[in-house]
């Protein structure tokens, strides 16, 4: 088999790496037509659907993972342990009569037969359709719209925000409705795309679902993480959402282990040992999402921070609030230590630069945990990192219309962010929109035992404990945020879409007005 020199890799290390070599990775992105074994063409190869992501004005990353049996216990999705060539096409029409780009990638067992080709040379602000082919097997058709050209200001841009997809706690009804939103350009996933817990009769609340014994234990090995992504991504509503619009993703803790902090487990294990689990958790994250190759981990380190500009209308920055944070504080003095960091120094500078230097009207930060001050003991949130939060707020104050998008807490919360959390008279610098879970915690209720902690603050404008998603529309004049709930998720996926609250935020006025 002839392997070409990698042509699309920006990371020097890939050119130097042994093992999972530059060429190997490159083949998941771009491969000669002759590479790989004889195709095993069947539509069932695409049981995990398709996705697009890392949007740019001139292109997109396309994703699929060949897996005729997504819950195969060895984590290889029922695929033979050999490379398989995959062809991709991008067209301006759904029937692929006008194919404007096509190419080959090699699905390899090293990456669980996932491919991440980056399409370039497309027109900005244009809708395209894409599909994959293996032999005579064809994937579902996905679509995306490229981002506007850098200088342009689009009239509007709409996106959905979701988090906390505990598949076993309920049906992905939220994804069903989000995928059907008339206005939708992007899906933003803000963490806990999977959960690592063992799935047993105690937590399998998704009626009608069953799992094999391999899913009954806590996820620790690469084959287990792959199996877990295979299980969650087998959901048809999640697949429809991914096929409908590009996705950008950041992680929280459950992509590895509950409440892990930096390089440390919260469950009494040395960092040296835990690094092995982090490495396979991060790898599986890359394998299953439409990410640029820059997000490919190097052992237990990965860079998933990224950004995109929607012309001059909006700038998104996706933060990693898990990998670089300082340990849980052991005292109030430590908690308030000015040197404490949530993002790490490098990421903190990066996001400040993106905020302050942004040409965009709206500046959105997607992050894993709540920024708004709620209670001192919520040390997993930015409440555990007050000095770092103050620095973030100061950078936000120097930018135009900053908006934080958050998940984690399994509740819808809308909050205004004050310039100084300790000064009630300080003006607002921005707003935080916290989306509830897609499924985690099952049906939920409008209020619960946590409600008083949140609504005690006058800057918290909404609290709802049911499942759902957030839909946001940006225009040059205002941001409209719609908090959608579904009344149940455990029984089935038929619950209706209900709007629990809608806010407008005028450009230049960082507040939440009930619409």
């Amino acid at each position: 088999m002839t392997q070409p020199a990698p042509t699309r890799l920006s990371r020097r290390r890939l050119l130097q790496a042994g093992g999972l070599s530059a060429a190997t990775i490159a083949l998941g992105i771009s491969a000669p037509e002759t590479a790989g074994a004889e195709p095993v063409g069947r539509d069932e190869l695409f049981a995990l659907g398709v996705a697009s992501g890392a949007p740019r004005p001139d292109g997109m990353v396309l994703w699929t993972r060949l897996a005729p049996d997504p819950t195969a216990a060895d984590g290889h999705g029922g695929m033979p342990l050999r490379p398989v060539p995959v062809r991709w096409d991008v067209a301006t029409d759904e029937r692929f009569r006008d194919v404007v780009a096509s190419g080959h990638a090699l699905a390899q067992p090293e990456l669980a037969h996932s491919v991440h080709p980056r399409v370039t040379g497309l027109e900005p602000g244009t809708e395209y359709f894409y599909r994959f082919r293996v032999g005579r097997g064809r994937s579902p058709v996905g679509r995306f719209r490229t981002l506007p050209a850098p200088g342009d200001t689009p009239e509007r841009f709409s996106f959905g925000v979701t988090s906390c997809q505990a598949w076993y706690h309920g049906h992905f009804t939220a994804h069903r409705h989000l995928a059907e939103e008339p206005d939708l350009d992007l899906a933003v996933f803000v963490g806990d795309y999977i959960y690592e817990y063992g799935i047993t009769s105690a937590n399998l609340w998704r009626r009608g679902a069953s799992v094999g014994p391999a899913s009954a234990v806590e996820v620790e090995t690469l084959e287990q993480y792959r199996l877990r992504y295979g299980l969650f991504k087998s959901d048809p509503h999640l697949q429809r959402l991914h096929a409908r619009v590009p996705a950008v993703v950041t992680w929280d803790d459950h992509e590895v282990q509950n409440n892990y902090v930096g390089a440390s487990s919260a469950y009494g294990m040395s960092d040296e040992l835990f690094a092995h689990r982090v490495a396979v958790g991060y790898r599986a994250f890359y394998e299953h999402l439409p990410l640029d190759v820059d997000a490919l981990p190097e052992g237990p380190s990965a860079d998933v921070t990224t950004g995109l500009d929607v012309g001059r209308l909006a700038r998104f920055s996706l933060l990693d609030t898990r990998q670089f944070r300082d340990p849980v504080p052991t005292s109030a003095e430590e908690q308030h230590d000015p040197d404490r960091t949530m993002l790490g120094a490098e990421q903190e500078r990066w996001v400040a630069d993106r905020l302050v230097g942004s040409p965009a009207t709206w500046n959105l930060l997607a992050n894993g945990v709540v920024v708004s001050p709620i209670t001192e003991d919520r040390t997993d949130q930015w409440d555990g990192y007050p000095a770092a939060r103050q620095r973030l707020l100061e950078a936000m104050a120097r930018s135009s219309n900053p908006v934080v998008l958050t998940g984690d807490i399994h509740k819808h919360v809308a909050s205004e962010l004050r310039a100084d959390v300790d000064d009630p008279s300080a003006g607002n610098v921005g707003v935080e929109l916290i989306c509830t879970s897609v499924a985690s915690d099952g049906d939920g209720a409008p209020t619960d035992s946590y409600t008083p902690d949140w609504v005690q603050h006058d800057y918290v404008k909404l609290y709802d404990g049911r499942r759902g998603y957030l839909h946001v529309t940006l225009t040059p004049e205002q941001m409209e945020s719609t908090f959608v709930v579904v009344p149940w998720v455990e029984a089935d996926d038929t619950a209706p879409r209900e709007v629990v609250a809608r806010f407008t935020t005028p450009a230049g006025r960082p507040r939440l007005d009930r619409a």
Partner: protein, 280 residues
Amino acid sequence: MSQNPAVVTGLQTEQSITRTTLSWRSLGFEPLIDHYRVHAVRGAERDFEPTEDNLVGKTVYPRFEHDGLDPLGETWTYRVLARSDAGRLGRPSRPVSATSTPSVVGTGTPVAVVGAFDGRTLEHRFAPAGYAQIPVEHPDAVVEYVQGRDTPGTAWPYLLPGPGDSWAGRKVYRARWTFELSGAPTDSDLAIWLVDTTRLGGVLQVLLNGSALTSIELPAGATRGSREGDATVPGSTLRRCYFEPEVPADRLRTGANTVELVLAEGGWVAWDAVGLFARP
């Protein structure tokens, strides 16, 4: 394409009660190791070929606890190999044999026990998750248990809370266990088996008939034994631990004896069982 994983080297064993812990040199991250596969056969110094039939566990870490062994001790011979991200298998390590430490639960004669030494809290009161009842039922932070009169299900809560537990009032809890010795005391051992502890660890003081017998430094645990009661479920993350301090005959007396277990520091312990065992 990526290479096969290297051979596993540096295989070492550490023995404890019902458990042999294996560790080896990490093969690093190139190629990425999906997991290590631990193969084992009963008996010592045997060479054998790893097969699916003798696979006793998989682990992502260069460390494996072969758990649930007979308290009398079990001898096994181990070989470990790695599986890469691409599903390729490395060559297995050289075989290494080890015998788990025999416990007094297996070697001694039971004199008095509370609960079953089985890796579960389930026979104890409020198990597996009713911890909130403990401070309600024991507002004075004292658990009294009289052998012969009481049973684990009615009088021995599955957790002994500690000063690190805000839900239990941040108190030092003590469990007072009284039993009768009908004959002359003999040299004995006290078996204290725990299903889990908290991430805080702690200190468990052991008093016998009013004076200190020993003080046990508790390891950090999984903090899950308050909600899960069975450490023998495959994949359980509960962290069992075992302590078996000796009890010389002259520390015991004919008639009533009282063992007091005081959680002086740290968070709760989840009981598997406690018992006094006479030496053979």
